[in-house]
Symmetry: C3
Subunit: 130 residues, 3 copies
């Protein structure tokens, strides 16, 4: 089984900072240099990297995605979560970050966020190395 991180989301849409959990998996695996891939095995969730200092940034990201891809559009998929699938396509299913001396090489303001688009649910992400 791949290295995985379990996440519990609390609302329909949410962005959860998982940076420290990913960093811990790098430590546990003893990886020092290369690239780290964080992969989302769900089709109604995504992952992204953006600012973690001001929570308003995440709110603006989620609000604008909702305006561009509204929940109540005229969709064919009957489960009521087509917007979640489309948002997942837009953010993508994985992020890749360089690792140096055992640490994620992130910019000053960057955090890794799990993006919930159809919660609340129990979710997981995989961490792999290249």
């Amino acid at each position: 089984m791949p290295i995985s991180i379990s996440i519990r989301t609390d609302s329909r849409i949410d962005m959860i900072d998982i940076t420290s959990m990913v960093q811990k998996k790098i430590m546990d695996a003893g990886v020092t240099d290369g690239i780290c891939v964080v992969y989302v095995p769900h089709t109604t969730a995504g992952i992204t990297i953006n600012e973690g200092a001001d929570p308003a940034v995440c709110m603006d990201i989620m609000t604008r995605l909702d305006e561009l891809i509204p929940r109540n559009g005229s969709y064919r998929h009957m489960e009521g979560n087509s917007d979640s699938h489309i948002k997942s396509v837009i953010t993508g299913s994985s992020i890749t970050v360089p690792v140096e001396r055992g640490h994620l090489v992130l910019g000053t303001w960057q955090k890794i966020f799990f993006c919930e688009f159809d919660g609340p649910r129990s979710r997981k992400v995989y961490v792999a190395f290249g």
Copy 2:
């Protein structure tokens, strides 16, 4: 030459499930563990991972992308496919998936889709490992 998969698309926009073709290339290459990158060398096509069970999901994805980035907008590029280039930027040119014991580690509902935005054409994707 990199490992490549040839695809023939039949209409202007389309999403084609290439999961089993990618899985076969992993087998052929004898790769057991690491990460698999599937790369699109075209500027009017993309690649994504999403639900493969209900075809309505792909229809909803393509329809909403078309609504957000219409074919007949006021573009400067004169070839009539600016929308295709922009959709390619939004989906991205590659996906990355962990590999374990020779298998793609996909979620239950996930399939890898080649996204045609300016077909019908003969296309290809590259498969590389990290």
Copy 3:
């Protein structure tokens, strides 16, 4: 420190072709085969791969992103650059390209573009290998 490329952007939004700079870093590192990751450590910039032959394509990409995510929307983040953060989420923070015999395996029309969404600024990208 990771391998990095410094970039100076001249306007608020811009797409800068960094393909030859990335290729040079591959040469300098002596990498022959595998995958190359180009990573943006900023939260108001992005990276993408698209057509480099006709500059109108980049203009169309940036114009449509601006129409979908206007600078003067009703955002909560008070720094006046929420649109830049959201555009960064949409393009993504990294691209991954196969490398063969020391060369990026790009398609005929593909170039790697640094996407400035909140310039002018001094920026950098990291180049890593998997």
